[in-house]
Symmetry: D3
Subunit: 244 residues, 6 copies
């Protein structure tokens, strides 16, 4: 099995990555450039109204629908339900030391309307971090394949912002309920690998730090300054760092 899931070279450079696997939606790639390793799930999609509805790229006339248009069913074949490559470790040489390889409707068009997706997450040893993020409408169920992770999520204000955290070893499973802010940290000395099932066909990751300090254009700095009660200089430094 070593051949299937080789340990990545020890690389400590910066820049998170989501590997979109050169899939059906190259359009999304530029948006995913760097800072955001994430679990990439989604849930409660509309029910299918036929056996399947394999996604096609948007037509050239600039007309879109909620979700995706479908391929002519007569032209569909087994490859529309297939994607290879989840045995290849993601490149964790980035500033957070983690990488998400997603198999969502963008990489596997047969997932359209079916409400489920899968990701592989790689973590560099000694602190590879999938930083705090949220998925607007999907739950994530994660299983550790290799390594040791410290994982957790925080509940909403009404529940007192409670932290539910746990250390996970191979074979351990953990659930991050829909919408909750969550994270995973490699606390071991070796690379870590996890797979996660997601309750939607889609992406929709919101990495907190990129959203607050790295949006395009930047939020008026008065907002994070007051919200975080930080010195304005620190806020402006953060904005510089996350908006290159």
């Amino acid at each position: 099995m070593k051949d299937c899931f080789p340990t990545p070279p020890n690389n400590t450079s910066s820049g998170t990555n989501i590997n979109t696997m050169k899939g059906a939606s190259p359009l999304l790639v530029p948006f995913l450039l760097l800072a955001l390793a994430s679990s990439l799930v989604s849930a409660f999609d509309p029910s299918p109204l036929q056996d399947f509805c394999v996604a096609i790229n948007e037509p050239k006339d600039g007309v879109f629908v909620n979700g995706k248009f479908c391929k002519d069913p007569k032209l569909v074949n087994a490859n529309d339900f297939f994607k290879s490559g989840l045995n290849v470790p993601g490149d964790v040489s980035n500033h957070v030391g983690s990488n998400v390889t997603a198999v969502s409707v963008n990489e596997l068009p047969g997932l359209n309307t079916l409400g489920v997706a899968l990701v592989r997450i790689d973590y560099a040893p000694y602190g590879g971090l999938n930083p705090p993020h949220t998925h607007p409408h999907r739950t994530e169920i994660l299983v550790v394949i290799e390594g040791t992770l410290y994982v957790g999520f925080v509940t909403s204000n009404a529940d007192g912002n409670r932290l539910f955290a746990k250390t996970l070893n191979p074979g351990d499973v953990f659930v991050f309920p829909i919408g909750m802010i969550h994270f995973q940290l490699n606390i071991g000395k070796t690379p870590a690998v996890a797979f996660a099932g997601l309750s939607s066909q889609n992406f929709g990751v919101i990495t907190i730090v990129d959203t607050i300090f790295g949006s395009d254009p930047l939020i008026n700095p008065d907002v994070p300054t007051k919200a975080f009660q930080l010195d304005k200089n620190i806020v402006e430094d953060l904005q510089k760092k996350f908006s290159d």
Copy 2:
């Protein structure tokens, strides 16, 4: 109309507040103590299977359901669909200078299973802020009644964390799509007031700063330190400030 919506006294002390209106769910009150003024929406609840299903408090035997148990329909009366008090300004004497008065299923039990709620938001002059937050599964549509607000939301990673922001005056309406991190800032010299309709019967506010730096218990500081690329001392200061 001045009597109905009097201008609050100019108060610049700290401590945000969500006014739960002494409603049906006193349990929620302690969690909402300070830092979180928010728009408090929700969406896509299950359809009702009868004319109405007025919520009752959880039975004493510690058994709960997804959503709420219902009152015996024969005992329901018009007051179950009624709540007064949205003419009373919320107390904005807190550290962010804003206050949310919610009318959700916790305050108005007749909303159960009906997928909609309403809030009033008050903002202190000169910078009252409803700080960056998200609602796991509801959209918010806001109308300004008084004052001038700078409002915005940031899209997800896949969309490039774009900021959509706008200055709003009385009668202006703005939408914060489900799950997006958003905020409102009073940029005028007078108090501001807004109402918002929400696409759910429920709360579910996640104020970013309280979640990341003020959870109970605290997240291992290595996580925000690495994610925000901040000095560890600053992170620990933030944790102290938001977890009292």
Copy 3:
């Protein structure tokens, strides 16, 4: 605040109005010509499968979908989530003395797929009436801003057609559950104003009297004659009155 919500001139002519705010869907305007002031809500729309799906007008080739086609997300900007004008009183110089100004997906395209909308309702003094109507699939939560309203809804046959009614003053909130026939009557001597949040992005108002007596073409008069146990002359008079 007087400037934001000025009292309309006292006008006693006839003809209800729904102000569609010269929005994205001029097509709907002719249908809304007179008799129907209504609360205009909707609920339980399909979940969004992306951050947003801003509605565009139907393409010229006469092809439609359930809901709306979406704008190219790269072309979306903050104005797609914005609408001004809810500070302007609606014109109540019509036969029922009320006016609904709607902000639904037709006026605010950013609401598409988001399951919520907002309306402003104005009522003439001394009896302005939002006549009995129903919304096929949305709930309405109403807050009174000015004036005094007598409001109510009637449950279905299985529940005994019970009336739940209440007199509302400024700051009072009332819920009209999905599908129930309901109404509001200004019982004060001054104009009344209310806002309502709706659990859908869409219209879908069915004003009872226009449906039964003013359909196009008219229902065979034997049907309302037998159903209402009225003299056939009275039925034919009603049909004349409501089908001009």
Copy 4:
């Protein structure tokens, strides 16, 4: 408020009938006493989370849920999915000359969570009428077995309250879309019989005339007087007739 809601005189006239088939929910029977023959459909119930969830009567402690509690699955048998009697004509000796025999979750507990129901409708010759009514959230598909019916529905205000009507003979099928006000009239000289499939497990019939003129208590007569532009005496006569 007594003036607004005069008590109607005791009235013992005749009335349509919904035959609830002496089923699982005797509680509903009193509400269904007379005036309401209807098509009794329903739609878009929550998905089942197990093979079946056979409804049981509400427990004695007055606690209810949205929908129904379920029977212990180990005690379920084939009779829970079975109901006899749809070959028996309903009694049409009432003021509208029609009768609905329903097989919904109240009569056939195995339908719980399954989103479908069935009714038989009988119509007296020479004018048996299933009077204008609506179902808050279900569609009805009707097939004529015997006789000749004039049927139709009216669309919402936004669509111009258009009437879609048709004369049906045996074997003809017609659809009444969710929420639309609709009716059926026997225009033949013989009894008529129809079956209808409904997109919900539930009732939820709103007969217009009973709702507007026969609610309990009565709506303030000013409301229907202004809405229908009728003489107040006629309104009060209607209220007397429909509220015995």
Copy 5:
């Protein structure tokens, strides 16, 4: 009633049939050629976002959506909600001796987005069989009009594959819960006729024997050989029989 539903001529040849009524979707006809008589239901479709969304055929450019595109509402008329012919017995001269005449969205375009459909099923005397099949996501409620049927469904593995079976006579109603494998067998000496309401606008019948032994192309015979623990010759005979 004999006139409406005449007894079909006694015909004992083979080949099941689904009568798609020469409806809107001739494309589906070839797929339905022989072996599959079925109850043809569907459930839990997306809610409509307008009064109706009458289905149109797929546009010529090969672009499809989940469900169906809609006709321009201004061109819709009563015939879009109408279908005749359910009084005509289906041809049961096929190898299983049964026939399903469906009225789904393919035959009655007005059903689009409405979540309900209707079928007529005819069974030859002395053993006409609607063979074991399943519907991926719809429930079926069946009423017997003529004859005597032995009907049943089997629950899932987790429930112990229990059989719930019953003998039905005219007027008897039985429910086949969503997704369960079920069948009907005419155990009488006369033809039998049933109607069934279905909780979806759509088809989606999976006849077990055609799926396992008659797929195109055939499944590797090792799979059914091992699964059914049959002699490989028998499996290959079955594959020959069901894949002509």
Copy 6:
């Protein structure tokens, strides 16, 4: 990683197994005794109305709901979202040579209302088979970790019962759309291991052969005899084999 996922001893005896991991629902164990290894998915569950709703066992009074009752949220801790053991190979010493280890709401109560689950499937070398089965309402996305699988699903009658099949190697992903009959066969000389994400919190596996030939009680043999066009002796042999 060898330690985490050791190769199981080569064992060619019979008796499939679903490993329910000694979880929260011992009740299900007896039903899962032998013949059914399956992918165990589920989809489109109701949305959560709170941060989480951790499942509890049914109360002793025999009252059930659709889905599960919830634990008092104040008593919930991180272990409610955690399950260990997916690194342990399932026992494939059964007649089909495969084993499903499920992590659904029954084993991991925190999954309740969240619409997703995870399974590990083990296959014996030289022909370990997860036999043809269906899931009434969930999609499955499978990734191969070790070995070589021949997998496929067959579409519904309306689509011509087309087979979509593929040979999968480590890192390959395949989708089995909701409701379709599907299978996996180990065509390699070594054990195979796969993980699968499922679009529901729940089970709901229907193994075809157990349903048709092994139900409790048995289906009248005339039904499979006619449906499969088999000699009645063969049918009775199959019934004996699958109903011990």
